[in-house]
Symmetry: C2
Subunit: 416 residues, 2 copies
Amino acid sequence: MKQLIGSAIIGQSGGPTSVINASAYGVIRTALDNPCITNVYGAAHGIKGVLDDILYDMSKEDPYELSLLLNTPSSALGSCRYKLKDPDVDDTDYRRILEIFQKYNVRYFFYNGGNDSMDTCNKISKYMQKVGYECRVMGVPKTIDNDLFGTDHCPGFASAAKYVATSCMEIYHDARVYDTPMICIIEIMGRHAGWLAASAAAATYMGCGPDLVYLPEVDFDVEVFLSDVEKLYKKSGKVIIAVSEGIHDASGKLIAEYGAENAKVDSFGHKQLGGLAATLVGMVKNRIEDVKIRGIELSLLQRCAAHCASQTDIDESFAAGQTAVESAVNGITDKMVAFERSYDEKGNYICNMKLVDLTLCANTEKKVPREWINAEGNGLEQAYIDYLLPLLQGDPKPWKEKGLPRFANLKKIVVK
Amino acid sequence: MKQLIGSAIIGQSGGPTSVINASAYGVIRTALDNPCITNVYGAAHGIKGVLDDILYDMSKEDPYELSLLLNTPSSALGSCRYKLKDPDVDDTDYRRILEIFQKYNVRYFFYNGGNDSMDTCNKISKYMQKVGYECRVMGVPKTIDNDLFGTDHCPGFASAAKYVATSCMEIYHDARVYDTPMICIIEIMGRHAGWLAASAAAATYMGCGPDLVYLPEVDFDVEVFLSDVEKLYKKSGKVIIAVSEGIHDASGKLIAEYGAENAKVDSFGHKQLGGLAATLVGMVKNRIEDVKIRGIELSLLQRCAAHCASQTDIDESFAAGQTAVESAVNGITDKMVAFERSYDEKGNYICNMKLVDLTLCANTEKKVPREWINAEGNGLEQAYIDYLLPLLQGDPKPWKEKGLPRFANLKKIVVK
């Protein structure tokens, strides 16, 4: 293998997670320590930072502040949702990227993101190969949606799942405090895949979670839903429901849009558009007279609640970044780091690093297997619980100051 | 002092907190261990459990499970929102309570709650004195609202504040991830007092919190608010706003009701009523063209997120329960346990237990001092931060199982 000497760029893209910075730190720390890598640059807001020539010099950062990235949520370098065009149609962006790569002698490119980011990664890799510019390109996965193909699970998912399951357990206790009836609908992120909403079932497994869990993997039937809720309500007066924001009917129409159609324009001239939880709350109110019901949107917190992260997730996210750098230095390119699960003879979970072709991961979605969802489509089977629980292990000990988290404070010195 | 031998009842009332069970455990553990107390009963759903003669025998509980109450959110014995009538008008309930006290030889009554619960406590105490039934009655405070009179702060407040401040810090990072404008409005509990919403300012103090914080202590002017938001938006594109649900205009009208008036009836015949955050989002959308804005309601989680509790709060909550029992056994009655703050010569915070007359605490509300709020009424002064920070110290190490919290599972064996 030929030794390749040059600079490295790390960029972050897509929606944030609690641990995407742990992966970035895995890349940055490993790259700074590797003699083949002459400079380590952080791209401001992902590929946009490359196109705009805004690169931060990571060697100028205080090592201690960098280490705080392990427990700092959201994308510290900034993120973007920029989709590169097909280079055969318009190669403007690619020529610009090549120009920047040449300017800084970039020979290593690490991109930290989800489906779309792996697509970006793949396109850049193929373009550089085509024009004969030697550069090793590696994808470092992240997504709370857990829908990346070719990996057992995705960095970021477990921490979000831990937050969702923990919050559901706490809401369960809160919702049961009075001896009066109460329905609670908890809305969880996940447009196309229900991995995260499914984690609410871990709370049920622990004895205090939702009675019903709905994922986009199964068509949602409003009538069956209302009848299920009514039955449980009549039986015990307490019903907790977890729903993925992406649930849809048999025609593919999002249930959240049912509310949008009925929404009236308010005095400001805006559609009073609630989310899915609000829509379902309206439906249940219509069905059950005088019901006490509450919709809870877990909102941004489910993807940025670093205070409730899984240490397993942090460790694996760091390892993914580290593996990307080590593999690239060892001559590998055009791959995404992925996880393979195994168990030792005592049944303990082990996470092994592997590499998969970027082409395979880009734009392919992995969904919750139908057989992990119960026949009725309103709960999860033990197979899902067995899959999830090992990923939630371990609580981080983040650095605190005055009782509150102390997040990384990067200087972000732009390279001239 | 005459030794009083007999049974004890502990009841919980009002909205739950993350640590109200730590106080209950303080009462139960101390009472079980005290030779003057012959039986320890938990009232099912507060005073309702007494009226309905549903009392749980605490001696039948596994001691380990009881100890898990320290980290179990919400009211483990069940709560209620039952207001006793004035005994001079209708003494039915009081005669029933006396009957139950006599039936079980109850000589100690501990009531764990907020303003209304101290009122209940006070009325029962006065009634028992009037009819000459010897019984020592003690209030054990709790409220995330922190609005009880006669105490430096209230058990439950600090944990909720820690959750609010931590979540604001995390949302701040999430909201800054893209280089596009973004406004975020975070709605925090607190109808009449702004103590909890004010805790969002601790995130700002840490360098990553809201730009604007609004409390019910200051009249809210919609026009000034919109102009403040617009100014910040034009300057940096990023604005985070924290609001107490109880903010109102100069006439006393809740801002949340502005939305209700404009709300249209949906196809189900229900008013599409958003909360305060939704109302403010609508107002800002009307003012700033094409703004990207998000309303986040911290919802039930702020009062039950035991996973983000303050160990100081847990310790003090336990101590409050313990002090209530010890004081009562030593002959004291008709008091609420309260906290007095002091600092040692090194400036370290110390929490001292004291007792205040129930009559003083019942139905009196303590608000955030005006001088702790900035002149503009949209932020907090350092005095508030200095007040708050010592209360947030320490992270609990709750018992976990499979990576998730293991909450107390009481048998709740009803006394025949």
